[in-house]
Amino acid sequence: MDKQMDLLQGTLDMLILKAVSLGPLHGYGILLRIQQISKDRLEIQQGSLYPALYRLEHQGWIASEWGESENKRKAKYYRLTAAGKRKLQTEAEKWNRMADVIAGVLRSTPEEV
């Protein structure tokens, strides 16, 4: 699929958790990481990234601290907390189950019904 897809409602949180699960990242880094692993197929509104980060931090799933970026600038880095790890796991399972079910439904042929 060449066209970029809009994010499904509620999936941004999961993607952020996944992105930071691979190592601490700053906000811009998270954006790049998601684009990179989705092979640029997902469109993320930059403006909505930060409110999501703040919300996740407020809920205790990610933690932040100030560090130095690749080009020696001060940047805020986010990492996954233990609670965040568990959250990511359950969310991923839920997502997969859901995807299976939906896929199954869509695969069904008239004879099966």
């Binding site: 700053h26 906000g27 403006g47 919300r55 407020h58 205790g60 970026s69 080009n71 940047a75 805020k76």
Partner: protein, 885 residues
Amino acid sequence: MTLWSRIRLWLRALLKRSRMESDMDAELRFHIEAFAEDLARKGVPREEAMRRARIEFGGLERAKEECRDARGLNFLDSLVQDLRFGLRMLGKSPRFTAIVVFTLALGTGATTAVFSIVDAVLLRPLPYKGGERLVAVWCTELGQSGSKIFAPYRDFEEFKAESHGFEELAAATWARAGEILSWRGSPHEVLSIPASGEFFSLLGIPAAQGRTFGPEDARNGCTVVLADLFWRNELGAAPDIVGGPLTLNGQPCTVVGVMPREFQFYPKQTSLWTLITRNSQLTDKPFDSAVGIFGRLKPGVTTARAEKELLELHKRVVKDSPAGSWVEGIAPIVRDLREEFTWLAGRNLHTALLVLLTAVGLVLLIACLNVANLLLSRSVERERELAVRAALGSGRLRLLRQLLVESILLASLGTMAGVVIAVGAVRYLSSTKLVELPPGNPVTVNLHVLGFTIFLATLTGLLFGLAPGWQALQIDLNEVLKRSGRTSTWKGHRASKFLVISQVALSMVLLAGAGLLIESVYRMGAVPLGFQPSHVLTAQLALAPSAYTDLSRRSSFYERLVARLDALPGIERAALSSGLLGFEGGGSSRLSLAGRAAIENLEAVRTQQISSGYYRVLSIPLLQGRQFDSRDREDSQPVAIVNQQLVHRYFPKENPIGRQIKLGKPEDKAPWLTIVGVVGNEKRATVYKEMDYEEPAIVYLPLQQSSPLSMLLVMRATGNPLGLSPLLQGEVSQIDRNVPVYGIETMIQRDSELLAHPRFRAIMMGVFAALTLLLAEIGVYSVLAQSVAHRTQEIGVRLALGAQSADVSRLVLRQGMGMVAIGLIAGLLAALGLTRFLSAMLYGVRATDPLSFSAVVLVLMSVAFLACYIPARRAMRVDPIVALR
């Protein structure tokens, strides 16, 4: 995440607010710059890269706002912001703020003050043990519904011994005249209340000093417990009073205790309580002496059930009673004690308080409507500000909240000022004792009352804040922003009109009520009472029974006293009477006419012992025969003077002079009295109804032939009657040092006491009605003035096209008076329906008295005309050239 760590995070966020803000700025800046650098690396020029980065990011401020929201900071934060902004807005228009706060302060202040009375009198249980289960047991005379009299002492004995519905029963009686207490040689007139041994334990109040009655006192002679007020004011708060001896009516008594300062029972002015012991008057003649019975019901027992039980017990008492006793003609009734206290304080007090609370609630409502109106017109002025804020991204709800915060701020300020007013009013009320309030709970602005006030404040804040808030939600951004600042669609108009019409209607209701009450007081006060009260001074005096056992000693004292007073230069004439004019109640007795059977069940025939000058002092006309004079002596023929009412009832179309009557049955031992004169009637207050007079049949007896120990002294003064008061005690002491004079008042003062309650509520209603009238007229004026201001251009066009200035003013007047007329009609209809709740408080007018209503309409119309005339004049003076430029 635990709740605690969440709160900690939140608190940290709150405290380190500015740090977080700069962090957020730095983070977002970093993002945009990093993005721009990436673009630059791809060959986009630096300037262009920054621009594209910003555009890609989207609304920076909105993102920030959402970040703050995400941290849960925003709500509180914006509330603080709203508050600050609100305060600044209010500070910017101090006149507006002052008017609103003042209006609200009057409304809440008055409401709080009235509610604190209602709370103390009608809501809170009496401050005694099991206060909500305390009852009074009266007796009602069969065939006279609504009558309440004391019960025979024998009933009390029977109830105490046999009833099961009560935890405790006690007796006390205040049906007696002044007594004399001597302490350290000086006489004091006291109100002493004989009470049974259970009295204080029933109420569950211990003494502040010493103790209350105990079982050991029953064997002793006379035991008394003092009231704090009497001990402080009359006995100088003597520290050694407990255990000390004093003399009550010549009898030695022991003081066992002094009650706490806050303890009160009916009557409030009680000086002391004496223990009813085994061989007192009450216990010796249990069928003939009357007492009030008070009890605490067992939990779950209703007054109806208790009444049923007592009725059965009373039947046993009747069986034991001597034949023909008054006990046969009565039946016990059980009533809630607090209700009875209220009834005793004022026959209509309960209703009057509810009426006043309703009235003051209406005042508050009108005040709220006025404030709503002011806010509404302000929100029209602020339309542009609100529209600009909405255009810049403020949510409508946020705007609504801003307006509500402002309203609540105003309400809080108004309430605080109102509480100050209420505290002042309550203090004033309790210090001046304008009206008698029942004993029990003192009237104070306590936490209970404050809770009510805070509830009111919130309610009013919401009430008057909603209208302009709703208005703000309706703003059409395009419309408002397109317009120049000068004109605005005057959308608030319809809402304002509605508010003003309601105000006029409510004001009409209160004015009608006040009009009726005021007219009643006026009419009741203007009724000729049958005697001339001006220049008359009255005073009480009481003789000690031990020193004045026989009739001749008493009458010689009285004769000497009258002679002394008659000789005083400031006194035209002095006389004595056993009765208190206009106040005497109860006391019916059988009347026999010579040659006819006794008249049974007659309506009260009163007896009154008087000295010969009585009719002259009070200017009561002698219609037939003669007055008492020196011919009437202890050993001469027993005589009586009767009034016209008695003649009218029992000697219609006959000459009563020379006829003989007897107070009692024909076979009784009492002497036959020969009627020697007939005098005019005196009007007297009735016992069971407040707004009424009765003209009882009275039999007057000469002092020489029958004189009681306690007398009322009446004197007609040549000048100011109160000027005589310092002389009185001296004159009496010249004859006997041990006779106290007390209760010195002019007859006018006495009469006005009779109208204290009606006058008080009429004044209150009048003040409330005047307030509402003022508020409503301010409402009419401000709506019209606003409308004229908004229509300046239109008026200018009319004038330019040839309209006369009179036409313009008629236009405005018609608009204003139209609103007033609608409100007036609505109010009139409401008033016609509501005033019948006042009927018990009216005298001489019907609840729908057309005259009274027309007067009120006239007052309202003329004040309303004034309120309309000022804006109309302004409209007339519009200069078309200026208006159209």
